[in-house]
Symmetry: C2
Subunit: 195 residues, 2 copies
DNA sequence: TTCTAATGACACTGGACAGTGTCATTACGG
DNA sequence: CCGTAATGACACTGTCCAGTGTCATTAGAA
């Protein structure tokens, strides 16, 4: 859990970058496990192999680190499903798999939980995660007769997450395997009459 | 905000019941506004016109009050949409309106936020709220050719909440009016090809 | 080389808050 | 009417934790 061999004194540029990255990397599992309030700066520091001092001078305070962490992750999510896929079914399945994963569900939970305190963060998350997914889906459904692709894409997105994702947020089911994700995606496409 | 004229000494039976109810009633807005961790027992007590003492003797601790409050509300939600409606469209619209309301979205947020700490509560909430809605919808779609009514009902429920409800959880949109809820419900039924 | 920036180690402060103890007060039950 | 249960008032304890100060240590910059 804890990073070993911390050295005193000013770090090399490389070490400094590693530390900065580690603080963000390690913050996620910490916040996921304990929630925002119950995660102490001391825990965050120890887990990253760093002292509180460094966290405060790099990120200002706990909220600063939290925002930086979520922002970075949301951006990654938005990039992740970008290129690789070529079919609607493939894209749909990947979106299901990703959004139902433990990490993303946990992140989603955090952002929802703190939506009141960090409204901008919630908005960013929504735009980078959900909205991007919908836009990407829209590229594949633009020809549907008589309905706007954006509306169809949103309906599909709703169906791809659906009640299953609600159950994930509430923690009453486990993350689907990739093959289960494919099935969920297939069902969703089917129910909306999409090819 | 605060209840006035608190009197010392043992309360009458009626006063006692009122107090018990008030504690639960007032706990919701408190928890909604500040979240679980940042709501203090002192605030809960003052808001209900009661001292910490009474909260501790009635509910044991903060967690006890929280669980009691959510359980009662979840049960109410489950009863609420019970009888009145006779058409699928009517039921669907009422579900949309209720689940997108500020109170229910806030409650949902709370339960999601604390799903890790109160897993049983999350399960209860899911069964009493979501699952009940799905079952109720299922009564109206049992005749759909070639698909199980339960599956159709779940798909419909997914569509009734959908991306709009995600936005509500993230706090990026306001609660829909009743007429907007009707529109959302109509769209959802439409997209799934239901009458 | 010398000065400065970034850090670890570690102690410390100030505030907040859960939960308890005590006592006077009031209603209820017998 | 008397003993007891439930309460308000209020002080108190113990703990936790965010954020800061200090100093020695090390790397980079001039």
């Amino acid at each position: 859990m804890t990073i070993d061999a911390p050295r005193r004194g000013r770090p090399t540029a490389q070490q400094r970058d590693e530390r900065r990255r580690r603080m963000l990397d390690r913050a996620l599992p910490m916040f996921l496990e304990h929630g925002y309030d119950r995660t102490t700066v001391e825990q965050l520091a120890r887990s990253a192999g760093v002292t509180k001092r460094t966290i405060y001078s790099d990120y200002g305070d706990k909220a600063g680190l939290f925002v930086a962490m979520v922002s970075r992750l949301a951006a990654e999510v938005s990039d992740a499903s970008a290129s690789e896929s070529d079919t609607l079914a493939g894209l749909a399945a990947r979106i299901v798999f990703r959004t139902h994963s433990d990490d993303l569900v946990g992140l989603h939970r955090l952002v929802i939980a703190e939506a009141e305190r960090f409204p901008d963060l919630a908005r960013t998350f929504h735009e980078l995660a959900d909205q991007r997914h919908i836009e990407r889906l829209a590229h594949y459904v633009h020809d549907e007769p008589g309905r706007h692709s954006a509306a169809v894409a949103e309906a599909l997105f709703s169906q791809l997450l659906g009640a299953a994702h609600r159950r994930r947020l509430l923690g009453v089911t486990d993350a689907p395997t990739m093959s289960e994700a494919v099935d969920l995606a297939t069902d969703a496409l089917d129910k909306l009459g999409l090819t």
